[in-house]
Symmetry: C2
Subunit: 215 residues, 2 copies
């Protein structure tokens, strides 16, 4: 599927608003999205809808009028992050050195996920039916797969790397807790560097146990 078309379709579905939406309704919508982003980023996707309504200072009825399901709310809240994720893999693909591009993707995606735990959870298919998250995720994964093929062919990526290893690393990256967001990002940075080391082709590398399909 063409990812740009997929994202455009999704935006058309989720961003469509009645033409006469009044400005206080727009304010409410933005307040809800801000509260949702902050809540999902700090606590993941398990924050209840009523709690998001409370933090946004709107009633539950207002919340559900704008976003009938948590999936729709998360989808809209994560649009920016999806775009950021897409920009990262595009930057990686455009790199003339595929191994350098591959490393860049790992570093930047780990950091993006470390900064926003809700997005990491969404990306890891917590909402398998969230169309645009799925489309964005498939685009990212397909792009990284292409990058991995090139880096492997160039002899820099270990030949037994599979795409699920990237998912494994992103899940693991999401397990990193710290006393502050800044510390989490710094810890994630060191983790990404170690992950790159693990993925680098090396004559001394031992065979890996079988890959596990967690997707």
């Amino acid at each position: 599927m063409d990812a740009a078309a997929g994202l455009a379709k999704v935006r058309a579905v989720t961003v469509s608003l009645p033409h006469n939406l009044r400005s206080d309704a727009l304010d409410n919508r933005e307040r809800i999205l801000d509260a949702a982003r902050a809540a999902f980023a700090a606590e993941g996707l398990n924050v209840p809808m009523r709690e998001i309504a409370r933090r946004a200072g709107v009633g539950s009825a207002t919340l559900y009028r704008h976003f009938p399901t948590k999936q729709m709310l998360a989808t809209e809240a994560f649009t920016d992050q999806l775009c950021a994720c897409r920009a990262i893999v595009d930057e990686g693909l455009a790199d003339p050195d595929p191994w350098h591009g591959f490393c860049l993707v790992i570093e930047k995606v780990c950091e993006l996920h470390a900064r926003n735990r809700g997005f990491a959870a969404a990306f890891r298919s917590a909402f398998p039916n969230a169309m645009d998250v799925t489309a964005g995720r498939e685009y990212a994964l397909n792009s990284v797969a292409e990058l991995a093929r090139r880096a492997m062919k160039a002899g820099h990526l270990r030949p037994d790397f599979v795409l699920d290893d990237l998912i494994l690393m992103l899940m693991a990256n999401d397990g990193i807790h710290a006393t502050s967001p800044a510390t989490r990002v710094a810890a994630s940075r060191r983790f990404a560097a170690l992950a790159i080391q693990a993925f680098q082709a090396s004559p001394a590398a031992s065979p890996l146990p079988p890959a596990v399909f967690t997707r």
Copy 2:
């Protein structure tokens, strides 16, 4: 601190029971511990005390009579895992090849944590004041530090490894989710092999970003 003495002291504190504890009280105690182990292993340490009482089929008053705090309950529930963890690091230390011993510790501790998520959370100092968990944890960390020193001296462990990298890997390992416990263990096994690769000294290894103290 001598770890054996620390653990003995802890057991003396937490395992001490009135001499005349009646057998039905002992049954309740075991039922509570079984329920707590299962709940903590599957869902981590956030399971409420009243839910553990419910699953054990006892009243909250009975639960609190046996274990006045969740810390005391977790401490007692994790005694076996602490012993297993200690046995693993002792086995690693006894290995004549320190790098082999170091790898063995990573593999086995990752698997132990993957099998028991509650223990992983406790080990990662979720209860900083739980004396025996702290004592067992310090013993394990000190032993691994000694093993790491030897493996580094032998030229197999990268010279910029710090003990916090092990904590980082254990946190990351705990982030691995899967549809079944068996899949989680298999995924964790592949993750441990990649972590070992990341820690192995290599002329091609790039410098790492600064270590982060998450403890």
